[in-house]
């Protein structure tokens, strides 16, 4: 039963149950207080009646009381009060009962007894007093007279229960309908997304309720997923494109070889060129694998204390001859020690990529400045500034994307993954790569913080598990 399993129905049933329990908790003490009050009041009245009759007896003796009782019984307000005067042997002298009831205790006092008043047994409240001279006086009242009141109380309670149940059920149905409408909307959107159209978003409004908040969160997730998928699509396109060029060259080279069958010396030269083409493809793959390795965040488990000033000094030392060859110079400004927890290999590669780029694009006689500065709260700022053509403002965001190759890079070697690798390494270390204008040139800046974001370590276990299932790549 779908309806019974609906969360709205469960909710409504639960609320009705709770409402009934609350009602019972409210009615029970009320009922008790009411009963006590009524009983006490009634007993008081009976007792004061008995008192009055006792006074009549004292004042006027048995005949006076007999007359008094007869008068009252004669006024036809019988049924209202039970009155009975009996002598010491329990023979009735006056009153509206034919005989002294056996159910009345012999000891004087106030009791509730069963009496037959002509319409079956009923509960009667009685006050039994003994009068001087051994006389017995019984004053009583049929409690059934209060039954209609009690009945009304129960009717009212039943009515309340009925109203509560009906309203609760209607409320449940309404909530369920509202919930189903919104869930239906969500389900339709999700189905559309499952079909492959990621542009759909869950319906939201300004109510700010839980479902709306949830929808907004899911929409945020969808935006992120769409961007990622878009990025992956772009990357696959770029990979395909970037690999096609060397593969096309390789193919035509080999085909030409088999068609023209040139001299063996020329053949060897062509084969060497073909190997170089393959190496280019392998290089692109290696760079991609490296990026994937960094992106997975697994390296973070192997973080150690790294002095970025030392890393920078080594990198400057490494690239200096290449810069000198092009007539430029690499200058280093650093505040040592600039220690951060990180992956020394990745950090060196990232810095190396930045310097390599700077060396490539700096014109003759230019200067490349590498700076490692300590920032606030243990953060470390690394900048690599060159005096090359720079990257136009509009293209800077794109420059970090995989396989981006700006106009300035035409004719220079590289696979267009350098800056994305730097960005990935920076993000692995809780930082970010930003590109600014150096007037002229490009200023690449990474700020690394001590607190690196946490990643799910579970990915590590699965990678180890899958180790021997990798399909190896052979030459």
């Amino acid at each position: 039963m779908k309806v019974l399993r609906s969360s709205a129905v469960t909710l409504a049933v639960g609320y009705i149950g709770l409402g009934l329990a609350a009602l019972a908790l409210f009615a029970a003490p009320l009922w008790y207080a009411w009963r006590v009050t009524i009983q006490d009041g009634r007993n008081e009245i009976l007792q004061s009646d008995a008192q009055r009759l006792t006074e009549v007896f004292r004042r006027e003796g048995p005949p006076g009381l007999v007359g008094y009782i007869d008068t009252r019984v004669g006024m036809q307000i019988a049924g209202e009060r039970l009155l009975l005067l009996a002598d010491a042997q329990m023979h009735p002298l006056a009153g509206n009962l034919a005989a002294w009831p056996a159910s009345v205790p012999e000891v004087p006092g106030t009791d509730i007894v069963k009496l037959d008043l002509g319409h079956g047994q009923s509960d009667v409240a009685v006050v039994h007093s003994t009068l001087p001279g051994g006389y017995h006086l019984l004053v009583g009242r049929d409690t059934a007279r209060l039954a209609p009141l009690e009945q009304r109380f129960w009717y009212a309670l039943a009515g309340a229960v009925a109203i509560l149940s009906v309203l609760g059920t209607i409320g449940g149905i309404l909530i369920r309908r509202a919930l189903m409408t919104r869930i239906h909307g969500i389900r339709q959107t999700v189905s559309a997304i499952i079909q492959g159209d990621l542009s759909h978003r869950l319906p939201t409004h300004h109510s700010g309720d839980e479902l709306n908040t949830l929808s907004q969160t899911i929409n945020g997730m969808l935006v992120q997923i769409e961007q990622l998928i878009h990025g992956i699509r772009n990357v696959s396109n770029s990979i395909a494109h970037d690999l096609r060029t060397p593969l096309a060259e390789l193919r035509s080279r080999l085909e030409e070889l088999s068609l023209t069958k040139p001299s063996s010396e020329q053949t060897f030269a062509e084969i060497d060129a073909a190997v170089a083409d393959v190496d280019r493809v392998i290089r692109i793959f290696n760079a991609l694998l490296r990026l994937a390795e960094i992106d997975s965040g697994l390296r973070r488990s192997g973080f150690v204390a790294v002095d970025m000033a030392e890393v920078a000094a080594a990198a400057v030392d490494f690239y200096q001859p290449a810069a000198e060859l092009r007539g430029s110079v690499v200058a280093l400004q650093s505040e040592a020690p600039a220690v951060i927890r990180g992956d020394p290999v990745m950090l060196a590669q990232a810095l190396g990529n930045l310097i390599d780029n700077a060396v490539k694009y700096t014109p003759e006689g230019g200067t490349i400045t590498v700076a490692v500065l300590r920032g606030v709260a243990g953060s470390i700022e690394i900048t690599v500034a060159d005096s090359g053509p720079g990257i136009p403002q509009a293209e800077r965001a794109k420059a970090v994307e995989r396989f981006y190759r700006g106009d300035a890079s035409r004719g220079t070697p590289g696979v267009g993954l350098g800056l994305s690798l730097v960005d990935a390494v920076a993000r692995l270390h809780g930082g970010k790569l930003s590109l600014d204008d150096n007037h002229p040139g490009l200023r690449a800046r990474i700020v690394l913080t001590q607190d690196t974001p946490q990643v799910a370590r579970t990915a590590r276990a699965s990678s180890e598990e899958g180790e021997f299932r990798h399909e190896p790549v052979y030459p």
Partner: protein, 226 residues
Amino acid sequence: MKVLLVEDNERVTQFVIKGLQEAGHTVDHAPNGRDGMFLAASEPYDVIIMDRMLPGEIDGLAIIEALRKSGKRTPILILSALSEVDERIRGLRAGGDDYLTKPFAFGELLARIDALTRRAQGEGAQTRLEVADLRVDLLTRKVTRGDRNLVLQPREFKLLEYLMRHADQVVTRTMLLENVWDYHFDPQTNVVDVHISKLRQKIDADFERPLLRTVRNAGYTLTSHD
């Protein structure tokens, strides 16, 4: 030199055996972990080339660990398609002496097993290195060629020291990156070549006989032979 190749891929096997034989080495081949384990434990080899992922129950790392536990000190070069830094560290921790990722150039493999066997023969606590008339004193850090003093930058000295220690062997760019600069990544550009040409300027330019030579498609070699 006697080499054991533990590798399951036929193309790679063929390619490596042929290349090694041409270089004058004898090669035994095991196509799976069990045979590899048996041969490595029973026969004396100068060097073992070990694939990591092998058919059967025993993988390359398990063989290496078992060999090291039984006291075998044969140099082992791990050959693997697993290129991550962590995988490399795991391989070396298991007892491998060097780690080469597939796909590889044969020149790289040959240069590395040459370097491994040379190392196994023991470089000892040398204080002086000599190739023809080029001398390096590791204690005073003095470099001379003939009767001339050569002034080298610290990094150039380290580069020369590595080349001298591997004199008459081919040293690849990757080996230089890893051993001289401790860079375990591809710097994308030919920076190593620039360093070599700077060093060459200092040790060879003014002399009749060049010692530091480029080996096509492989790397460099420092040698007095022609």
